[in-house]
């Protein structure tokens, strides 16, 4: 019997071994794992079962990963966690831009997958509150996006307008990997290119110096090499 609090996770992967690994890593008392072996079957099951989260492999034989992502994104906001091979940052970026929420690189450990999946489930459940509500507090920071007031350990911190826009993009997507292009659209309101794109990393470095305890060992804005940045999930 499916209880009210049960979580449904759909795994779309053509390799039965990987499906088993994912199932073993995620299945539990309150988690039901469904499987699909092709992209087409995955999209059908996603439509029929309305899972809370989808684990999607990139190397599907029938449909490109990005198409599966985009199609599911068309009618569902369930988090999509992508399983990818190394050496394919471009592919990861394309998938995140197509609406995926996070990715795990093969070979991954079950603990890593569990952590990523839990973070995404937590984030998707907290979603209605994020961005809209009052000030956010974490790590000695108090971020009030509505009033544009930031304080660190009680003292006010001054941010430039661009840094505010950056921080807003990060906080309202906390726990989610944002590609350079997504950040760019959120801050500058259009797709990347030109000078400001070249300075994105410099703005992030400046923002880190203002909000991180140690900007060389950032704990809030984490770099996802070749892909973008991820703001730490809000508790």
């Amino acid at each position: 019997m499916r209880g009210m609090t049960e979580t449904t996770i759909l795994v779309i992967d053509d390799e039965p071994q990987i499906r088993r690994v994912v199932r073993n890593a995620l299945e539990g008392d309150a988690v039901r794992v469904l499987e699909a072996a092709t992209g087409r079957e995955g999209m059908d099951r996603a439509a029929a079962e309305r899972p809370d989260l989808i684990v999607l492999d990139l190397g599907l034989p029938d449909v490109a990963g990005a198409s599966v992502c985009a199609e599911i994104r068309g009618w569902s906001s369930a988090p999509i966690v992508v399983l990818s091979a190394r050496h394919s940052e471009h592919e990861k970026v394309a998938l995140l831009d197509a609406g995926a929420d996070d990715y795990v690189t093969k070979p991954f450990s079950p603990a890593e997958l569990r952590a990523r999946v839990r973070a995404q489930l937590r984030r998707s459940r907290a979603e209605p509150r994020a961005g809209g509500g009052g000030p956010v507090e974490l790590d000695g920071l108090r971020i009030d996006l509505a009033r544009r007031v930031l304080s660190k350990d009680g003292g006010e911190v001054h941010l430039t307008p661009t840094e505010w826009d950056l921080l807003r993009a990060f906080v309202s997507n906390a726990g989610r990997t944002l590609t350079h292009d997504q950040i760019f659209r959120a801050v500058w309101g259009r797709a990347g290119g030109g000078d400001p794109q070249a300075y994105l990393r410099v703005h992030v470095a400046n923002l880190r110096r203002k909000i991180e305890r140690d900007s060389v060992r950032p704990a809030l804005i984490v770099t996802e090499p070749g892909v973008g940045y991820r703001f730490r999930a809000l508790d």
């Binding site: 071994q17 190394r86 070979p107 300075y199 990393r201 410099v202 470095a205 060389v216």
Partner: protein, 359 residues
């Protein structure tokens, strides 16, 4: 039969043919006109030079010239000429015979050259094809390996949680195998010139932070000292973030593998003119003087007796090539007091005032 013997036999055969032709024509000399003799000799010269070397053709031409003069132009059995116009006949014959020999020789050389070139082109195409197949094979193998590696890692991980120490080793070895295959893939891409670098403006501390994050799992309790001052202006460079990260992570992991666990690893970043200089220093055994360049060669292994670091010996060679592909360098320096310093440089970048960028 050697080539030399065959060559001599050919010479003998053509000289004998010249003698036979001369004897045959001499027997019917009364019925022949000069032009018949000249044409017969010319045919002989052409046949000789097309079958043998240029030297054979020229010698047969000279022999024919002399025989023509000696036997067929009056006074007979004598090299003198009674009719001066016969000189013209003789010299024309000699000129035609020589030019024909030369032309034949040239045509043959060109044909040989064309053949050689097309054989070379065929070989080059075959080599390229072999290279492409090798790379495709490595790519396919490395991709296909990831599925079983994921399964192995996952099972080992679950076993490890039940307290079996051996499972931890299995998981570590799976990671090592994965790194090894990835290195092979990179080397093959670098060799094929397929590895693209995408330089962009990056703050040095972004790179250092990402490297520290990536090695945080494998470094365990190792003390990491980072010398990079957050109060000074941002140090900026123009380089490929992902490839530079790989170089820096490789240097940190090497230092961790070779240096005693109780010693710290030190990482510093500074600006030196047009370069950002990353220095990774350890208190490991260092590198003997005659090995200091060889450590950057593919598949280099440290001499036996030292701890096996478990790599394929690809890390440093790949790292150096990644550094150079972005206009940087990677070099070794001995460390005063013992140990190694790896110096990794990248092109620096300047912005008017990094703290107040245009939005």
């Amino acid at each position: 039969m050697g080539a030399r013997v065959r060559g001599l036999l050919r010479w003998a055969a053509w000289l004998a043919a010249a003698a036979a032709l001369t004897a045959g024509m001499a027997a019917v000399r009364a019925d022949l006109e000069r032009v018949h003799v000249a044409l017969a000799y010319l045919l002989l010269v052409l046949a000789a030079s097309s079958s043998g070397t240029r030297a054979l053709g020229l010698v047969v031409a000279v022999v024919a010239f002399l025989c023509f003069n000696f036997f067929f132009l009056p006074p007979y059995q004598n090299f003198g000429l009674s009719d001066r116009r016969d000189w013209l006949v003789l010299l024309t014959f000699l000129a035609v015979a020589t030019v024909a020999t030369q032309l034949l020789h040239r045509a043959r050389r060109q044909a040989a050259e064309v053949q050689r070139l097309s054989a070379e082109a065929g070989r080059a195409a075959a080599l390229r094809e072999a290279d492409r197949l090798k790379d495709a094979l490595i790519a396919a193998v490395s991709h296909d390996l990831r599925t079983p590696l994921t399964t192995i890692k996952a099972l080992a991980h679950d076993l490890g949680e039940t307290g079996d120490e051996r499972a931890v080793t299995i998981e570590e070895e799976a990671d090592r195998l994965n790194r090894f295959v990835a290195d092979l893939l990179d080397l093959s891409r670098l060799n094929a010139g397929e590895l693209r670098v995408a330089p962009e403006i990056v703050a040095a501390e972004d790179l250092v932070g990402a490297a520290l994050q990536r090695v945080s799992g494998s470094l365990g309790d190792r003390e990491m000292r980072v010398e990079l001052h957050p109060h000074e202006p941002l140090l900026l460079g123009r380089f490929d973030f992902v490839q530079s990260l790989r170089v820096l992570v490789n240097l940190l992991e090497n230092a961790h593998k070779y240096a005693p666990a109780a010693t710290p690893i030190e990482l510093s970043v500074s600006r030196d003119g047009g370069r950002l200089v990353f220095r990774v220093a350890d208190r490991g055994p260092g590198v003997p003087e005659d090995e200091r360049e060889r450590i950057f060669h593919p598949f280099y292994r440290r001499p036996q007796g030292e701890a096996d670091a478990g790599g394929a010996g690809l890390g440093l060679s790949i790292s150096r090539r990644l550094a150079e592909a972005q206009g940087g360098t990677l070099a070794f320096e001995p460390r005063p007091g013992g140990g190694s310093v790896f110096v990794f440089t990248l092109p620096s970048a300047d912005l008017a005032d990094p703290a107040t960028l245009p939005g």
